[in-house]
């Protein structure tokens, strides 16, 4: 049995040989999927599999070191492994202080993996913060542009979110069992007890949802994202947009919705409005940006808004769509950031007005960018389409007119997405070469190609064989959504 903790331990030991670590991680992650499917096929239909015999950690607060995975976390782990793998290759020539860079990078990944495998609120929260703080140094030391400001802003805003979160978690903990029962941090037990009083849910749900929502770049708590992404080094942008922002979405349903179904139902409309705004708003904002990373960051706001939006629809299909969207957005945005990083590494500018015709100079990167763009605007056969369609169909199944109208509003974003993606592609890659110096630039090197191809393959795999992923997710989403049936 493959306990998730093994992943982290493994990571830590091999921090200097990051490649080996990342590859091992990927192998382990894939092995995890196979093992997971094997278990499922063998008829094990427990909600969570591979639950490490919950070891009590802090007995007084009944904190356990409880680990386990269900379909959703499995796919998220695979996603993370892919992005870590690609990220290591994308930052192959990290300079200065490569050792420290990979150390922090590994710590960040540890947090991410730990988060996905935890089924104890405390451990989950701890890993969540573990994943956040390396960001500061990664951006601050290895970033570019206005990095100190961005790093500080990002860290403080995310920590602000986690402040709400901590309160929410403690609140849930103290209401986790019926009067006189043993309080617990274990998510599954809390869900089983379902004892959080309704009046408290009204208070705790927004706390947790906003807490995770900040990381999920929910309007109006998204402004850390553009600055942060713009300043971060490539691999960090990749991991951050690719995986870290998913922590928000994952946490939203794993804690906020799963544990407080009543409030989720009652208050969904508020957050739906906010996330609906994020979706459209992010897309519109992306239209007029001139910095490649800003464009992508706003596009992430839009896409991640979609994740939260779908989660709030509270039905299995939309939920599946949300997870697919997390996967899809994770991969394609990582791809985007990797490519942007590579382009920036060559041209030393990210201003689309100063670039043009790059397709002629670096066809590989150009094609990669086009594919990423097409994935982002939802081309069938790539992952974005599958995710968005699942979300739309799922959301539209909602019985409430309000939800359906909002779905249509969210649908509009696909057009706007097309607008800004094509605008960038047109200006950046096509047309005449803007800067004479660019003509001498080289195309991607092997490690960059490897990184890009890995991600493209993953994007295409989801796009072409979605049912494989969606069935894993659906089966995990069903028990959660049963609460709302």
């Amino acid at each position: 049995m493959l306990g998730g903790l093994a992943l982290c331990k493994n990571m830590k030991q091999v921090r200097t040989v990051a490649t080996v670590g990342a590859s091992a991680l990927m192998v382990l992650a894939i092995y995890l999927v196979i093992a997971f499917l094997g278990e499922r096929a063998a008829g094990n239909d427990a909600e969570m599999l591979f639950t490490q015999g919950a070891m009590t950690w802090f007995e007084p607060l009944n904190i356990e070191l409880a680990l386990g995975v269900d379909g959703i976390s499995v796919v998220m782990i695979v996603l993370s492994a892919f992005i870590v793998f690609a990220g290591v290759f994308a930052s192959w020539k990290m300079d200065p202080l490569p050792k420290e860079f990979f150390m922090w990078f590994c710590l960040l990944s540890t947090g991410v993996f730990g988060f996905f495998i935890s089924i104890d609120m405390f451990t989950m929260f701890m890993f969540y913060e573990v994943a956040l703080i390396p960001m500061y140094l990664l951006i601050g030391v290895w970033g570019s542009g206005n990095k100190m400001y961005s790093a500080m802003k990002l860290t403080l805003m995310l920590m602000g979110g986690s402040a709400f979160l901590m309160l929410g978690i403690l609140g849930i903990y103290y209401h986790s069992a019926p009067e006189g029962g043993q309080l617990t941090m274990n998510i599954l037990e809390i869900a089983q007890n379902n004892a959080v009083p309704h009046s408290w849910q009204y208070f705790l749900f927004p706390m947790t949802f906003v807490g995770f929502g900040v990381l999920g770049a929910m309007f109006p708590f998204h402004t850390w994202s553009p600055d942060g992404h713009a300043s971060a080094p490539t691999a960090v942008s990749m991991l951050h947009a690719g995986v870290l922002m998913k922590l928000g979405g994952y946490g939203c349903f794993r804690i906020a919705i799963f544990l407080m179904p009543f409030a989720a139902n009652e208050l969904a409309w508020i957050f739906l409005t906010l996330t609906g705004i994020s979706v459209v708003y992010g897309a519109f904002s992306a239209c007029v940006q001139t910095d490649l990373k800003y464009i992508n960051a706003y596009s992430s706001v839009s896409h991640c808004g979609m994740v939260l939006f779908a989660i709030l629809m509270l039905n299995t299909t939309a939920m599946t769509g949300a997870v697919l969207q997390m996967l899809s957005h994770g991969l394609m945005t990582a791809l985007f950031f990797a490519l942007i990083g590579m382009i920036y590494g060559r041209t030393h500018t990210r201003d689309i007005r100063k670039m043009g015709g790059l397709m002629q100079i670096m066809p590989f990167l150009g094609v990669g960018y086009v594919i990423a763009g097409l994935a982002s605007l939802g081309l069938p056969g790539l992952s974005g389409f599958v995710a968005e369609m699942t979300i739309f169909v799922g959301s539209f199944q909602h019985a409430d007119m309000f939800h359906r109208v909002f779905t249509i509003v969210a649908c509009c974003s696909i057009v706007i997405t097309a607008v800004y993606i094509l605008r960038v592609v047109g200006k950046l890659l096509f047309g005449a070469v803007q800067d004479e110096h660019h003509k001498t630039l080289t195309d991607a090197e092997w490690h960059e190609r490897l990184s890009t191809v890995t991600l493209i393959l993953a994007v295409a795999a989801i796009g072409c064989f979605p049912n494989f992923f969606s069935s894993i997710i659906t089966e995990a989403a069903e028990p959660i959504m049963k609460l709302f049936a």
Binding site: S285, L374, F385, C411, I414, F430, A432
Partner: protein, 641 residues
Amino acid sequence: MELSYTVAVLIIPVFMFLFLGIVGVKLSKKTAGILGTVAMGVTTIIAYAAALTYFFGTDQGQVIDGVRQQLTVLDLTWLEFTKNLVIKIGVLLDPISAMMLIVISTVSFMVHLYSLGYMDGERGFQRYYAFLSLFTFSMLGLVLATNIFQMYIFWELVGVSSYLLIGFYYTLPAAVSASKKAFIVTRFADLGFLIGILILSFYTDTFDFMSLTTDPQAAISTAGGATFLGCSVMTWALTLIFMGGAGKSAMFPLHIWLPDAMEGPTPVSALIHAATMVVAGVYLVARLFPLYAVDATALDIITVVGAFTAFYAAAVACVQSDIKRVLAFSTISQIAFMITSLGVASPELHHGVGYMASMFHLFTHAMFKALLFLCAGAIIHAVHSNEMSAMGGLRKYMPICHIAFLIGCLAIAGIPPFAGFFSKDEILVAAYANSPLWGVWMSVVAGMTAFYMFRLYYKIFWWNNPDYGHHTPHEAPMTMTFPLIFLGLVSIVAGFIPFGEFVTWNREEYVIHLDWTVAGTSIVIALIGIALATVMYRKENNIPERLADRFRGLWTAAYHRFYMDELYQFITHKIIFARISKPIAWFDRRIIDGTMDLLANVTNSASFAVRRMQSGSVQTYVWFYIVGAVAVAAITIICLI
């Protein structure tokens, strides 16, 4: 199932796409081109086999009680949303899809062949073939779709391949912006399509065409009396789906992308923007026709949109000077014919002849419009310009092309015995059957069609004899002329296909008999149009200029396509970019971000403010100390009391 080999028509092109896309660069150009063409040839053969087996095979229970059955050859689950809402990837054979198979594979094969000559020596030749394969794959996937979502998937893929092909010359800004425009406009339309699908599937709980169309009345009634903003939801759904079709088929006001799309290589225009992709909208409506048939409102909308577009596009086509644009507007106009024809095809009227007519016209139009475009390509290849002013008197230099073009013109003008006559005649019949208004309207448009086509013809091949200098135009190579000849022949004979036997709205047989009153009128009108064009454009003269001067306003408006582009420009740049996006971006930076920064600044200045407390003097410290202690006590006492 015996016809399961039909799947091969999907697999071969997609394989070619991946193959050429990935390893294409390593191949020589010639190899890549020939490989692509051969693969397409095989695809064509299979497609023909499938279609012919479908139409003429007798032993598979394909025809029951005179009704051709729809055969689902393959249905693989691709993505499961809910138990009933499942996207499947499959192959559905029925009359229209079989017919489309023929159309697409024929034209596509011709274009592949033609491109060997036309694109010879171009940069990115391999890429070009890869994209062509992708397009063929997606278009075939679209027509063979078993469910509406599969159609949507391929619909999008078609859009993308169109985008990629229009932007093939990606170093030219015009091509880039045209491709962008094409994609975004169709994307916008697709939004309608998508929402339509959502609504439809929400109420009917299925994507499947078979279940949707076999019992449309039931589907409609499950929606109950649900209404939204005064219309029933079904009308909304169908109208929105039609919006998707209208976008792809360039119906007014979503037509603006098509003329610009002519920036792509000409064979591409022939394949995508004349023969196949642009009729996807027609095909979509035809596919869901049983549903539309029970919703009169939606049908009316379709008719109006179609009829108006037909007229509008014809009017614009009369004054354009770029030959490909003329052809583009002519395409719009012709597709509008088909759309109108579907719109007037209520089953109660004249056995729903409009449906058959529409499909028939689709078929013939694909052939002769492809022919016209390929001719235009050959001409452009010869004179290196798209502008009419650079042409004239070409009949001497390019005889084969001349003949082929003339055949095309005659066909589109509706002169018997060329193909266009038969199909257009059926459309007019259907229109008259619906209401005389539409009949007359469409006849007028038919006349205009004849006029502008012959204007084009004369301007290219007659008009004057400009000095081509040392660069004398010459006939195109064999790879290019062969498709012309072949398509020319098809255009001549296609009209004699007893189309009603194969394709009708209820898949029963329908015998076409020419209604000579209608046919006669339409011939006369067409002849008038041709005569007019002959008078004005056969020899170089100044009549056109004088006329243009006379109706300066009208002419300019038409020349600028009635300022539709400018309107769009205005909406996108001035409204969406400047009025929505910019303010949002500003709001984001200043207000939202500002608030966050403000929080930080407030904290900072608060920190500055409180430092006065730390004066460094012990006495102040003690003062605060005692005041603090007493205040705490005092407040508590007050609270207690």
